[in-house]
Amino acid sequence: MIAFSVNEKRVDLDADPSTPLLWVIREYLGLTGTKYGCGMAQCGACTVHMNGEAVRSCVTPVSRAAGKEVTTIEGLSPDLSNPLQLAWLQEDVPQCGYCQSGQLMSAAVLLREKPNPSDEDIDEAMTGNICRCGTYPRIRRAIHRAAEMAAKGGLR
C-alpha cells in the first residue's frame, strides 16, 4: 500500500509500485487533466507538482510519491482563479489545449521561485514543455501577465 496525497486528498493505493505516477493519476484516481505525451520526460504534458517541485509524472514511479503531496492541474485552482489561469484566459493561450496542463504546472513553479521572471528565466523553466500548436509566444506573454497580476494581488 502506497500512501500519499493528491490535491490535498489522501490516497492509499494498492498498485504495482513501478507504475508511473501519471497512469495512477489518470486511471486509478480519474484525474485526466494530466496528459500522456511521450513517456520519457521529453514533452512535459504530464507535469505535476510533488512536494512543490515540477516532476514529469510519466517517468516517476508511484513509489516515489509515497508520503508526498502531489498537485495536479485539477488542484491548481478549482475555479480558474490562479493568476496563471487568468492570464492564460486573457491571452487566449490554448489551441488544441492538450499540453496546457503541463505548461501551467511548470509555469506555477517558475513563478513561485521567480515572481518576476525574465525571458531567459521563462526559457529555462519552460523548455521541457512542448507545444505542437506553437502557443509559445502567448505562453510567454501570459507568464509575464500572471507575474504582474500576482505582484498586485499575491500568488495563491
Partner: protein, 725 residues
C-alpha cells in the same frame, strides 16, 4: 439594420428538409456523464427542461443558453469559437450564453463542399460561413415570429439584440422565454442575412469558448474517455510496413497482472488489460515473429538516390506554358537546383487512441476524428453492422494536422477489432513510439528545378520536376481528388500555380511507388513545393543580382494579393534596413488554401547553428471571422513550418524507421521560438483558410535568410549547415 434577402433554396448544397426542422425536444443528457461541450452547453443540457431546436445547428434553452452544434472538429484551430460566432451574429444572441457541442455523424452535417463530414483543407470557416449564418438567421426569424404572435404585432416591427426580441412599448421577450413558442412555428422560407457592416461579433478578436476547460483539466480528449467496465489495450505493431504476423509467444505476458486477453488482430497483437500500464508492460514482454515482407531492406538514402535519377527524365505534364526547354537553351544565364524534403510525422501531442463499445446490434465510438463519415463507415464495416447502428462521438482533438483524417480509419478500425476480442468497452492507446512509427507520413519529395534569365535579368524559363508518392492513389478518394488527372494534384499544388510572370513554365510530376503509408499533413503539398519554389526564386534573384524582395515584386505585378502580403511583410519587417552583424533576412510568399501569406525572417548562424530571431508574417485570408484566432493560427503555422525546416526528418534503414519519440524527431521548444508578428490584410475577398496557409513560407524564408547571412544555399530539409552549398 440593413438586411439582404437570400433564398434558402440557393444555399450551397444544403437540403432544406434537413436544415430547417424545428421541434421541442427534451434536452438529452450528454454522453455518459462526460463533458463534451462548453460550459454553456453543459448547463443547458442539465438545467433546461425544454429547448428549441431551431435547426440542426442551434438549440436554445428556456434558460437562455444557446448551444451551437458544430460539424467541424476542434483540434486547436478555433472552430468551436469561429463557427458559433457566425451563428450568434445572425441570431443576435447574448454571447455570454453561447456554448458549443460537437455534431453527431449525420448527412446534414456534411461539409457543404466535400459532401462528407470532415475537418480539413483549412475549409471550416469558408465552408461554414453561409451555413452558420443562415442557421442563426433562421432561428432568429422564428423567435421574432413567436414574439410578434404574443404581442400581436407585425414581425417587421420587432428588433433583436443580445438574446431578446424588442418591440416598442411592448418591451422585450428573451429568447429563452420564446423558445417553446418558437419551436411550434414553421421555419421561414426566406431569410434575411445581416449586412456585414452591421456585425457586432464577427471580425472581432473574441476570446475562445473552449479556453476555460483547457485550463483546469476538464476538457475531454479521446484519451480521457472512460466507460464503465472499460479495458485498455496496447498493440504490438509490425516493425516494418507490410510485415505480417508469423507467430507470437505470450507466455510471459499473459501471466502479468491485469492482463485479460492477448489476441492477434489485423493490426498486430493486441494486449487487453485493466490499465494502460499493465497492457504496455505486457505488450513489451511479447515475443513476436514477423514475416518482414518486401520492405525489409527499405532505405531512405537509397530512395532519394532513385528519386534523383528519376528526375533526370521527363515526367507527367502538369503545366506547360511556352517551351521551357528551348528557352533554357537561349537564356543568358541559367541555374539548376535539386531540393529534397523528408518524410514527416504529424506528431500530435495527443497520441492516437480510440474507445469502442461494441454490442451485438450497435457500436459506439469515441475518438478525436477529423473524418466522421469515413470513420463511421469503416467502423461499421469492421463491426459487421449497418452505418446507422454506429454512433461516433467526436471529442476534443489533441492536435490533428491531418493524421486523424485517415482514409482507412486505421486507429478506429483496429479498436473495433480489439473490442470484438475484449467483449467489453475498450480503449486502444498508441504509445508515442507506436504513433510515430505507425505511418501515414507527409511523403518525402525531390524537386529539381532549372531556370534561366535574359540579359536584363528577367526570368525566361522555369522547369520543375517533382518525384514523390501520391497521397491519393489507392485511396477511395483517388477518383474524386485526382479529378481524372494523370498525377496527384496534392503532389504539385503550390508549383502548378506558380504565380510569377515567367513566359515559359513547365511542371512535371513523377509518381513514386513506395510502400510507406502517406497522407496529408498540415499544408500538404505546399509544405514542400513552397520551399523549393521560393528558394529557387531567390536563386534566380541572385543570378540576376537583384534584391529578392524587389525581384519578386517585379514578377508579381499581375498578382495584387501576392503583392499585398509581400509588401506588408517587407514593410513591417523593415526590409532593406541594416541588421546587426551576423544577422540575415529572408523573404517568401505563397498562396495556399484560398489565402495569401508572406514571411520575412531574421536569422543568425553561428558555429553551424541556425537561430531564428524574428518572423514577420502577413496574411490575406479575405473576409475573416476572428482576428485573434487568425493571429494564433499564423503563429502556429510559422512555428510548425520552422520546426520541420530546422529539426524534423524521418529516415528508414533496413526497413525500420529510425525515429521513435521527441528526442529523435524534435519539435521547436520555447527557447528556440522566435518573436513572431502577424499582420492581417483586411479586405472583403472570398474567405480563405487559416489553419494551413501559415506553414509553407517558414522554410524558404529561413533558408533565404541563411543565404543572406552566409552566402550558402539550403537545398535539403531539415537544414544542416554542413550540407549548405
Amino acid at each position: 439594420m440593413i438586411r439582404r434577402k437570400i433564398s434558402l433554396g440557393s444555399s450551397a448544397g444544403m437540403e432544406r428538409r434537413n436544415f430547417l426542422k424545428a421541434s421541442v425536444m427534451a434536452s438529452g443528457g450528454l454522453l455518459i456523464g462526460f463533458r463534451f461541450a462548453g460550459a454553456a452547453a453543459l448547463a443547458s443540457a442539465e438545467t433546461s427542461p425544454t429547448s428549441f431546436m431551431a435547426n440542426a445547428f442551434v438549440r436554445i434553452g428556456t434558460d437562455e443558453r444557446v448551444t451551437v452544434i458544430v460539424n467541424h472538429s476542434e483540434m486547436g484551430q478555433g472552430v468551436y469559437t469561429s463557427l458559433p460566432m457566425l451563428l450568434a451574429e445572425e441570431l443576435d444572441a447574448d454571447w455570454s450564453k453561447v456554448g458549443f457541442e460537437p455534431a453527431p455523424v449525420d448527412a446534414k452535417y456534411n461539409h457543404p463542399a466535400f459532401g462528407m463530414q470532415i475537418t480539413g483543407g483549412s475549409s471550416s470557416v469558408w465552408s461554414g460561413l453561409e451555413q452558420f449564418r443562415q442557421a442563426g438567421a433562421a432561428a432568429r426569424a422564428m423567435l421574432v415570429a413567436a414574439a410578434a404572435q404574443q404581442w400581436n404585432v407585425d414581425p417587421a416591427s420587432c428588433r433583436t439584440e443580445s438574446g431578446a426580441v424588442f418591440n416598442g412599448s411592448n418591451g422585450k421577450l428573451t429568447y429563452g422565454r420564446l423558445a417553446e413558442a418558437a419551436a411550434r412555428l414553421t421555419p421561414p422560407a426566406q431569410l434575411q442575412l445581416k449586412d456585414p457592416k452591421t456585425y457586432k461579433l464577427v471580425g472581432k478578436p473574441i476570446q475562445r469558448l473552449d479556453t476555460p476547460e483547457k485550463l483546469n483539466g476538464k476538457a475531454v480528449f479521446g484519451i480521457d474517455v472512460k466507460l464503465p467496465g472499460m479495458l485498455t489495450a496496447v498493440i504490438a505493431r509490425p516493425p516494418i510496413f507490410g510485415a505480417k504476423l508469423k507467430s507470437f509467444d505470450d507466455s510471459r505476458a499473459r501471466s502479468m497482472p491485469g492482463i485479460r486477453t492477448i489476441v492477434a488482430i489485423p493490426a498486430g497483437v493486441a494486449v487487453i488489460a485493466e490499465t494502460f500500464w499493465q497492457a504496455k508492460v505486457a505488450r513489451d514482454a511479447l515475443r513476436v515473429e514477423w514475416d518482414e515482407g518486401s520492405m525489409h531492406d527499405f532505405d531512405t538514402t537509397k530512395m532519394m538516390q532513385d528519386f534523383r535519377e528519376r528526375a533526370k527524365s521527363p515526367g507527367t505534364s502538369v503545366r506547360k506554358d511556352g517551351d521551357a526547354t528551348a528557352a533554357l537553351e537561349t537564356a543568358a544565364k541559367k541555374i539548376e537546383a535539386v531540393y529534397e524534403v523528408p518524410y514527416l510525422s504529424h506528431l500530435m501531442m495527443e497520441p492516437l487512441n480510440c474507445v469502442v463499445d461494441l454490442r451485438s446490434d450497435s457500436c459506439e465510438v469515441w475518438t478525436g476524428s477529423q473524418f466522421q463519415t469515413v470513420d463511421r463507415a469503416n467502423a461499421a464495416k469492421a463491426a459487421g453492422l449497418p452505418n446507422e447502428k454506429v454512433q461516433l462521438h467526436t471529442t476534443f482533438l489533441g492536435g490533428g494536422f491531418g493524421r486523424r483524417a485517415n482514409p482507412q480509419s486505421d486507429f478506429v478500425v483496429e479498436a473495433v477489432y480489439v473490442a470484438k476480442a475484449a467483449g467489453t468497452p475498450v480503449k486502444v492507446i498508441w504509445t508515442r513510439e507506436d504513433d510515430m512509427q505507425g505511418g501515414w507520413y507527409r511523403p518525402a519529395f525531390l524537386h529539381a528545378i532549372e531556370g534561366g534569365i535574359d540579359a536584363s535579368g528577367n526570368p525566361v524559363s522555369w522547369r520543375s520536376r517533382l518525384v514523390g508518392q501520391s497521397i491519393m492513389a489507392g485511396t477511395p478518394f483517388a477518383a474524386m481528388m485526382m479529378k481524372g488527372k494523370a498525377y496527384d494534384p496534392a503532389s504539385v499544388e503550390g508549383v502548378d500555380d506558380l504565380p510569377y510572370a515567367i513566359p515559359n513554365v513547365t511542371v512535371e510530376s513523377h509518381q513514386a511507388e513506395v510502400n510507406v503509408p502517406v497522407q496529408w499533413l498540415r499544408s500538404v503539398g505546399h509544405s514542400h513545393t513552397a520551399f523549393a519554389v521560393e528558394c529557387f526564386v531567390d536563386e534566380l534573384a541572385g543570378l540576376a543580382q537583384k534584391d529578392p524582395y524587389q525581384f519578386r515584386r517585379g514578377l508579381l505585378q499581375k498578382q495584387p494579393r501576392h503583392l499585398g502580403v509581400l509588401d506588408l511583410a517587407a514593410q513591417k519587417a523593415g526590409w532593406g534596413k541594416p541588421l546587426a552583424k551576423g544577422m540575415g533576412r529572408g523573404i517568401a510568399v505563397h498562396f495556399a488554401f484560398g489565402s495569401y501569406s508572406a514571411h520575412v525572417v531574421e536569422v543568425s548562424v553561428a558555429e553551424g547553428k541556425v537561430r531564428v530571431h524574428r518572423m514577420v508574417c502577413a496574411i490575406d485570408c479575405g473576409e475573416y471571422v476572428n482576428p485573434g484566432i487568425i493571429a494564433a493560427q499564423t503563429e502556429s503555422g510559422a512555428i510548425f513550418g520552422a520546426s520541420a525546416a530546422l529539426f524534423q526528418e524521418l529516415t528508414f534503414a533496413k526497413g525500420r524507421l529510425q525515429q521513435t519519440n521527441f528526442n529523435t524527431f524534435p519539435v521547436m521548444r520555447i527557447n528556440e521560438c522566435p518573436e513572431i508578428e502577424t499582420y492581417i490584410v483586411g479586405n472583403k475577398e472570398k474567405a480563405g483558410g487559416i489553419g494551413e496557409p501559415g506553414v509553407p513560407c517558414a522554410a524558404p524564408a529561413i533558408a533565404n535568410a541563411i543565404y543572406a547571412v552566409t552566402g550558402k544555399r539550403i537545398r535539403r530539409l531539415p537544414i544542416r549547415m554542413t550540407e549548405a552549398v
